[in-house]
Symmetry: C2
Subunit: 370 residues, 2 copies
């Protein structure tokens, strides 16, 4: 319950959630410290998410027939747990067993060609028969074709909004079948209507769940390319189905292949790609309400915001904000540019995020709020 309160608290994103958990040892302690952290960052009167709000969320989830999974619980998907920006909680509808098997993500264009949907079907069937769960985003086109073909073997749909909010409406029947035979997942509260900013967040879960991401058909500058980029950042194998350069719907896939993605001609290539990637995943799953993390208990946070002179902090905040613009920048890069110890920068980034001055994006990216 403290986890849900912390992640639903205003301006606490996923990365900040894990950082606070590491810093304060538990979500409960972080919730207690949060008003003080906000005050040190110049935000007066900050209050974490009220208990009543999360009680209502839990009630809505139960009413929808969904179940809450926390990172660290056995039912929480292993591959996702290994991400730095793993969702602390997931709402799940359906059979959690399909999420216990290794997964392959199939993603692609909403306005797919018939060649594209045929390929998505063929890949989903073959990948399912090989024992993998097929994960996708329940969008039109490639996503829907992949889910449908993988229903008999197992499929996971990651929703951009609430786990009970079907978008697009035309996939309502498919969504119902997935909740019966497969699994629907969402990190958002039940009932939430998806907004544009929820889709890249959803995509990081699609790729994060999977050992490999296959882009079936995608134009240049499409969302599937962002998913592929995120997948690479997550250390996932990325494959793409090529097409003739005169076919615009192949432009995104050809670009990915040119930039190093593995060319996928069919299911064998995907299985080969998985075999090549078969190195064991890192095992670092902090359990609920107790986050040992990398920063051990012995290592007391030396740079607690309140302990530093205000002027010095203001100067650091200014330097951070000067280096950030509306285009996301990698946190690593920012810290290198600042030439300040990472341990000194991290709490200030939390403070600036709580203050609403910076935004966090999937893949360890930061931008300035505008």
């Amino acid at each position: 319950m403290s986890w849900l309160r912390l992640i639903r608290s205003r301006r606490v994103g996923v990365v900040t959630f894990w950082r606070l958990l590491e810093e304060y040892g538990s979500a409960r302690a972080a919730l207690l410290a949060l008003p003080e952290v906000a005050r040190a960052a110049g935000v007066e009167g900050y209050a974490p998410c009220p208990e009543g709000v999360v009680l209502a969320e839990c009630k809505a989830g139960r009413a929808a027939g969904a179940r809450l999974l926390c990172r660290g619980e056995p039912a929480y998907p292993q591959a996702l747990a290994d991400l730095a920006d793993a969702p602390p909680v997931l709402w799940a509808m359906g059979d959690p067993a399909v999420a216990a098997r290794p997964m392959v993500a199939l993603v692609g264009a909403r306005n797919a060609s018939s060649l594209g949907t045929r390929m998505a079907r063929k890949l989903a069937e073959g990948i399912g028969q090989a024992g993998y769960t097929v994960v996708s985003g329940l969008a039109r086109g490639i996503d829907a074709a992949a889910h449908l073909a993988a229903l008999p073997t197992g499929t996971v749909a990651v929703m951009a909004g609430g786990v009970d909010v079907i978008y697009p409406a035309e996939n309502a029947g498919l969504a119902r079948e997935i909740a019966e035979k497969g699994l629907r997942l969402s990190e958002q509260p039940p009932g939430l209507e998806p907004l544009a900013r929820h889709f890249p967040l959803r995509n990081r879960i699609v790729s994060g769940l999977a050992a490999a991401v296959v882009v079936v058909e995608a134009a240049a500058r499409s969302g599937s390319l962002i998913t592929a980029k995120t997948a690479l950042d997550q250390g996932r194998e990325v494959l793409a189905v090529p097409g003739h350069p005169f076919d615009g719907r192949a432009a995104g896939c050809n670009l990915l292949i040119r930039d190093g993605a593995t060319l996928a001609r069919g299911v064998e290539d995907v299985l080969d790609g998985l075999a090549a990637k078969a190195a064991p995943l890192r095992a670092s799953r902090p359990s609920a309400e107790d986050a040992p993390g990398r920063r051990a208990a012995a290592e007391v946070p030396q740079q607690a915001p309140a302990a530093r002179p205000k002027a010095e902090l203001r100067a650091l905040h200014r330097r951070i904000l000067d280096r950030l613009g509306p285009a996301p920048l990698a946190e690593d890069q920012l810290i290198r540019d600042l030439a300040v110890a990472p341990a000194a920068v991290a709490p200030e980034l939390v403070a600036l995020e709580l203050d609403g001055q910076i935004l966090r994006h999937p893949g360890g990216l930061l931008s300035r709020a505008v």
Copy 2:
């Protein structure tokens, strides 16, 4: 003239030619030594190519309006001169200036699709406009489309048979135009009708002339894939135009890309590939009638065949032949397998080739004659 006699001598392939030239310092000396080398290899009564035969070849070449280029002469194409299996001589018809510019090879299927021929035309035009000469093999389909589109900017056709023997006949008009505005080349004697075995030899010249080889459309197990493989062995940049996996005519190209060839969506990708490859070529052009080569004059051949006991040589021959089958094996690999000093093996390979027991193939491969 001695060069032409040596390369036209029975069982003297290109690699043997350069080895004899290194060993004996000149083609004339090699011709004198050849009967003795053959005798040591167990071939009695071996005679090099008679002088009359090469005089007749030269006469036929002149009658066809062709000119003989020897490796080391300024008109001999630089890129080709750097190959270990460079043709010692080439017959040329047309304007040697087009061969002085850097070249790009365009190769592909004879039964090309309309997408394929359109792409070949587009690439040939763009590559020509960027200042490169387009080289190909004057076959049907992709080759013919590429030559035709590059006629205004410069094109080289490498013939599998004699430089004056047009195959296929339907390309006679194109071949005539290439001899007027471009250049036709062949390492074979004028008048020779091409046989199956001449095509891979021709293909090594196509790729050898070029800085990059672009495979435009190719089925699996097609000749274009062998050209691409040869090009890689020659250190050439290999690019391929992708297609949808459901289109069989894209299978060879997709395979190449999967195996590491650069994906080519259009002329920009080819030019990018060339820029990436722009490291200077090695400069090692032994000039005609005087081959300093890597084995310097000071380094006297220590393992001349006649100097080794017959029984020992027979045992080595037996071991070499035991390791070779009809499928070509890399010479490097063979020497490693034998665990005998390369300097001891090389003259025996020459002896076995002269004896007709082994065959040499492009790319440093050997097989057993069957």
